[in-house]
Amino acid sequence: MSAKQLKCRECGTEYALEALYVCSECFGPLEVGYDHSRLADVGAVRRRIQGGPQNIWRYHDFLPLEGPQPRTRTGLPAGCTPLIRADRLAARLGLGEVWVKNDAANPTHSFKDRVVSVAATRARELGFDTLACASTGNLANSVAAHGAALGMDSYVLIPADLEEQKVLATGVYGTNLVKVRGNYDDVNRLCTEISGDRENWAFVNINMRPYYAEGSKTVAYEIAEQLGWELPDRVVVPIASGSLFTKIGKGFEEFIGVGLIDGDVPTMNGAQATGCSPVATAFEAGRDFCRPVKPHTIAKSLAIGNPADGPYALDLARATGGSIDMVDDQEIRAGIRLLAATTGIFTETAGGVTTAVLQKLAEAGAIGPDERVVIVITGEGLKTLDAVRDSFEAHEVDPTIESFEEAFAGSVHA
């Protein structure tokens, strides 16, 4: 495989490709390092991708897994989600070209299937038989489902106050579902402690985190491939821990690096909810670190008050001329409606955050008229139905023409 080692992002100390996630010298995060020198024949790399399966395994050359490219793998193959040109949304916002990367079209309806597919596959390669995670909901769905598909035991820890839809869509897979009386950061702390004592468990976002995070790069690969091996000018991505945001940047960087696409990493815009905005707040204040916060927002899938990749998200936004912005709960609800009404895509609250931030950037004049913009919609609206409850009216009528005509008097065409 192209992956060669784990490397500390802070001090550069190298480690073997095992179930490690923290540098024991400085506590910095470990990241997978690659040697792409054997990918010098760009045409061959492109052909391997194009001839690969319709899922993230087509990018096997860029993922930290052993063996040759699989035609199929057991499990729940993720990715190859639609990239949809959203002309009506663009027109509404006065923009030139907007595309929606709809990652709700994954097996458990969020981008988390990408990261869990990689983490679970790597976990099996390393000999684990149990999956686990600390989740704000989407990850819970995905880990439970992957455990079922792969025949691995799973333990899913979530905040006790999670949306009912996300709880039900986790428990159905037959996982060990643990509702923790606390917020996500409490769940994460507990899981970090548990992972230290249960070394035979693969916590996808703790001891498997370096592999897990790599799965998010496939969002960038797909965008580039779906645009005909071209780069967008700007990408708007929601930020919780900041991992998706930074790995999308890394994905573009890698494709540029091996020569699959020409140009620069797009302008990267991060999107947070005002009720949990440690990264946006740090961006605004010009800081290079995030002060943790206690989340209070309807965007529960983004409610991480202590974002692990916050500093790197800040670096990426600044290095690409982007920004990290925040929107409040009312704007989030309006964002969900805006996307639904102009594209036919119903997203969860995180997608409302992303769409609302796009709107905010457009209204501020931050986006040029010739820009090609991609927004990354990470999850499905059916998982957060409360966010749209009472946001529209339905017409209740008797089963008669008269009653129907009465309800629509004046709006019925001859």
Binding site: S24, F27, R189, G196, A308
Partner: protein, 90 residues
């Protein structure tokens, strides 16, 4: 004034494999100093320029000390202080 300091797996080797060590002191900073007197090499792994490294989380009674008074946070007798890596999750 005995305080129990729970260590993450990444630091256990440095203290001979123990999952926790005993400490003394009225604040988080003092308690950690007392740990450093017997386990000096932990200082550089937890501290940078006199403060906690940015990827180190310390909790008193389950609460992140950055929501309390940082290293000045008071630690009651018999309390448990937990050190954990910050890079998990998401």
């Amino acid at each position: 004034m005995a305080i129990t300091v729970k260590l993450p797996t990444q630091l256990r080797e440095a203290v001979g494999g123990a999952a926790s060590v005993q400490a003394e002191g009225a604040t988080v900073g003092e308690a950690l100093e007392s740990v450093f007197t017997t386990h000096g090499e932990l200082r550089d792994r937890l501290y940078q320029n006199g403060d906690l490294r940015r990827f180190v989380n310390v909790y008193v009674g389950g609460e992140d000390i950055r929501f309390l008074d940082g290293l000045e946070t008071e630690v009651p007798d018999g309390a448990e202080l937990t050190i954990l890596p910050a890079v998990a999750g998401g």
